[in-house]
Symmetry: C2
Subunit: 171 residues, 2 copies
Amino acid sequence: MINLTMKLNLINSISVLLLLVTLIRCDRDNNQNQQSESDSPNEAIFPKGELGPATNFTGKAYNFGLVANDSVYNTLVGNVYFEKSARSNWHLHPSGQILIVLNGEGYHQLEGQPRQTMKKGEVIKVPANTRHWHGATENNSLTQMYILPKTENGFVIWMEPVTDVQYKSNN
Amino acid sequence: MINLTMKLNLINSISVLLLLVTLIRCDRDNNQNQQSESDSPNEAIFPKGELGPATNFTGKAYNFGLVANDSVYNTLVGNVYFEKSARSNWHLHPSGQILIVLNGEGYHQLEGQPRQTMKKGEVIKVPANTRHWHGATENNSLTQMYILPKTENGFVIWMEPVTDVQYKSNN
């Protein structure tokens, strides 16, 4: 019986050893996955940037400039990270604006038209001299590039905040 | 002794059960990580697009148009996914070009200047009417947005392929 007890003990020890090895490997694999995830989120393409002023935004929106204006390209490019529920004031661009959603989900609205939802990968053309606003949805942040063409006509004219009623209205 | 054998068997069974539960949880966690990874890679912001013609590219480069040209914005925007070692021919843009690296690593070179490495998040301004090429490095793919401003002057003039010697020369 000592022999049997020893055998059972051996099997038991091997099982516990396998369990430990599996736990260690599992933890290592998960850590590696987390590492490669932290390399790949779209937010991480550009630095977060500078907090936009409360005079132009409701909630927290951060701007990171990508291409400064000059007389060669006459094109201004940047990236805005909107926290959940953050949005711009109403504003317009003398030559319009191109929005490209890099991550998350947002809203945008041209005055007089219904609010639209926009998602990762979508492109929005905002017409020239048209009052509009854009921002994150209530439940998602938004990472959004913008392109201002023909900057010889100007950049942006800021106006009043988007009210909570306007922000939440989906028709 | 039967009692002892039963106890040891019970401990053994519990160990094996714990091992199985751990394995299943580990596999599930890894699958979840892989799921969220496949949601977040920067390549996935836009569809892969259409294979560029062999007359203009060495290796495989895929173009996905984001903003078609029109007379309102006079701006052409798109995304190119270069496989490892793929690159454009030499070419020029009458109004220059803005490159924005969304993922991976690439090379670009203005004629007469050293080849430059470009990485995720970097912005390159290519001057007007300047012969240049761009593409992925030997070991990394490249996901790269391009902006062509002032398209009233034209889009692109394609020229001869970049030779292997030119591609590999880092000075």
